[in-house]
């Protein structure tokens, strides 16, 4: 339902990867934030980028959304090489910060980002607010909302244009457990409707809600698989131990 609209041009082809990274490298001066990342992500699935703070998750998302240019390698979203301004109309990006205007109302924020994405149908704004449960607060000034409500608005602003690809950078930070469950419910609804979702997190207990996980450490993807698959491969009972096992292996290899 969320991606079956006319603005999101070509529907993602199920045989083509929705997102492709080939040898992505990003250096900031002497610091290498991303050190050769290559993967294909299939449409309509939820991918979890898991790793500690500073491991390169945000840099990876910013490269895939075209917010910054790669030092080497290429990022392709829905078949279009990033950065590409027009392609941004098919990508949703929920930043780590809320990134909403505190002096505007809930509806004004959603309408503004809808207009920025070129959405002309007012019903889409209402739909997005309804999805995150803010429809009855649309006239409230954002500065007066609770942190959780602001987070929900931030999500609504990222999907107001019904993008086939959605990047969520630590969407559940500072969100209470009840809202967290709701968020994951939304993500699953969107994925079932065909949206490709990339969620970054450093909270391992959220990871099992993803279809597939990518462990990120020191700018590299050190393992990839389903939660149960990774646990089995590492021979551990929980993802944290699995992560540490893979991290140790990659360090030994390097």
């Amino acid at each position: 339902m969320m991606n079956s609209d006319s603005t999101s041009a070509a529907a993602p082809d199920a045989r083509q990867p929705a997102i492709r990274a080939v040898g992505l490298v990003k250096r900031f001066g002497a610091v290498t934030a991303l050190d050769g990342v290559t993967f294909d992500l299939a449409p309509g699935r939820i991918y979890g980028l898991l790793g500690p703070n500073g491991s390169g998750k945000t840099t990876l998302i910013r490269l895939l959304t075209g917010m910054t240019r790669a030092t080497a390698g290429s990022a392709t979203v829905l078949g279009v090489r990033m950065p590409d301004r027009a392609n941004l109309a098919r990508i949703g990006y929920m930043t780590q910060g809320d990134g909403v205007y505190p002096s505007l109302t809930v509806a004004e924020n959603a309408q503004f980002f809808a207009a920025a994405y070129g959405v002309e149908d007012a019903a889409q704004v209402a739909d997005a607010l309804r999805l995150v449960g803010l429809a009855d607060r649309s006239k409230m000034i954002v500065g007066t909302l609770s942190g959780g409500q602001r987070r929900r608005l931030s999500l609504a602003c990222a999907l107001v244009h019904r993008p086939p690809v959605l990047f969520l950078d630590e969407p559940t930070v500072g969100v209470d457990p009840q809202l967290r469950v709701q968020f994951w419910g939304h993500f699953r609804t969107l994925a079932d409707a065909g949206t490709t979702i990339v969620v970054s997190s450093h909270v391992m207990d959220e990871a099992d809600r993803c279809d597939e996980l990518l462990f990120v450490r020191a700018g590299r993807v050190i393992a990839r698989g389903t939660g149960s698959g990774l646990r089995a491969e590492a021979g551990t009972g929980d993802l944290e131990s699995a992560f540490l096992r893979f991290a140790g292996e990659s360090e030994a290899a390097a």
């Binding site: 109309a89 930043t95 910060g97 909403v100 505007l104 920025a116």
Partner: protein
């Protein structure tokens, strides 16, 4: 550039300022208060209270006679005069505050050009001292001339443009209007664009198909909208005057500064608006180098105060040291001040070349700064 996206940005900027009551007050009330205060001070400066202590280094009846004549002349000019017993006593009178100026006549007053009359002031307040010295010296010259049997002719001031105004605010008003607009528009744009950067909304905006040009143009139009009102209100306040008749215990008073303007107020409006558009881009540009709102304010001494000093707001551009003269030509404010003085005092219209140059420079600066500002909004930068 998409008209729809541009419209969304303009409306958003306007909605944000409209909800920000303190900023609105800053935009509209502060310039009125400050210009009103300045006008009040400049127009109502009462002639200085001059208390003179006269002493002479000379001895004998002749010296005493000069002192007496001078004392009566100064008293006639409305000054309080005391005759001190000695030069030291007169200096002490200034030191104690009993007198504001001591006049010490030399023993050789009759020697003509070698004679020096000393005027002694405290020296703590140069501007105040200057007014005192001026008042006393003209009285001394008049008194000495008449004692020599001469009558001094009157000196009158005439101007090429307009008539020499008795209103001390007239030459200041154009400069002050321009400066305040520049100042407040820069401050508001700088702070609100910084919020856009630090609040993460710029990052988010750059993740949409919105272009940098649309952002800068949207900001310019949005703030330009408020600047338009600000200029209109400030001009009506500065140029107009409304007499409010006495009601009950309230005495009659007038609203507005009633400053004379020889040229078209609409042309003045256009000139200031061009300056304001440049101030928007300046605010966006400088917000790149700031991390906090305080830092936007810290740019004021670096960017705005030199413009204030070098643009003829207080000090005439011609009287600036030669080394600083070239700098005047790179100050946008200088062109606006010049344009407004041309319009206010000279009554210049668009056929006057110097006004054409001023307006052209302001327009080029606005466009150039907008281009530079949009370069500072990189997709790379949070």
């Amino acid at each position: 550039m998409s008209a729809r996206r541009l419209r969304a940005i303009v409306l958003r900027v306007i909605a944000e300022i409209r909800r920000d009551r303190p900023s609105l007050a800053l935009l509209f009330i502060a310039p009125i208060v400050v210009t009103g205060l300045l006008t009040f001070i400049l127009r109502d400066t009462t002639s200085p209270d001059v208390r003179v202590a006269i002493a002479t280094e000379g001895t004998g009846p002749a010296a005493g006679q000069v002192v007496t004549r001078l004392a009566s002349a100064l008293t006639g000019a409305g000054m309080t005069v005391t005759v001190a017993a000695s030069p030291d006593a007169s200096r002490n009178a200034v030191r104690d505050g009993a007198a504001t100026v001591a006049i010490v006549l030399p023993a050789n007053l009759a020697a003509g050009r070698d004679a020096q009359i000393a005027l002694v002031t405290k020296g703590l307040d140069p501007a105040g001292d200057g007014a005192q010295i001026q008042a006393v010296s003209s009285a001394i010259v008049g008194s000495l001339a008449s004692s020599l049997g001469a009558v001094l002719p009157a000196v009158v001031h005439q101007t090429v443009y307009g008539t020499p105004s008795a209103d001390p605010m007239a030459p200041f008003a154009p400069a002050i209007v321009a400066f305040f607009l520049y100042f407040f528009v820069y401050l508001l744009t700088g702070v609100s664009f910084l919020r856009e950067r630090t609040g993460g909304t710029l990052e988010r905006l750059m993740a949409t198909p919105v272009t940098r040009g649309e952002i800068v143009t949207g900001y310019t139009l949005g703030f330009g909208f408020f600047a338009m009102f600000q200029v209109a209100i400030l001009l009506v306040w500065a140029l107009g005057t409304v007499r409010v008749p006495a009601i009950g215990p309230l005495p009659e008073f007038s609203l507005g500064l009633g400053i004379a303007v020889a040229g078209s107020p609409l042309l003045a409006f256009a000139a200031v608006l061009l300056l304001a558009l440049g101030a928007v881009s300046l605010g966006i540009f400088l917000s790149t180098f700031a991390r906090t709102e305080l830092q936007v304010i810290q740019f004021i001494p670096v960017v705005l105060v030199p413009q204030f000093l070098l643009s003829g707001v207080l000090f005439s551009v011609d009287s600036l040291p030669a080394v600083l003269q070239p700098l005047v030509h790179v100050m946008p404010l200088a062109y606006a001040v010049d344009a407004l003085r041309e319009i206010f005092i000279r009554g210049a219209d668009l056929s006057v070349t110097s006004l054409q140059v001023d307006l052209a420079v302001l327009a080029v600066v606005a466009v150039l700064f907008a281009a530079v500002a949009s370069r500072t909004i990189r997709r790379d930068v949070v």
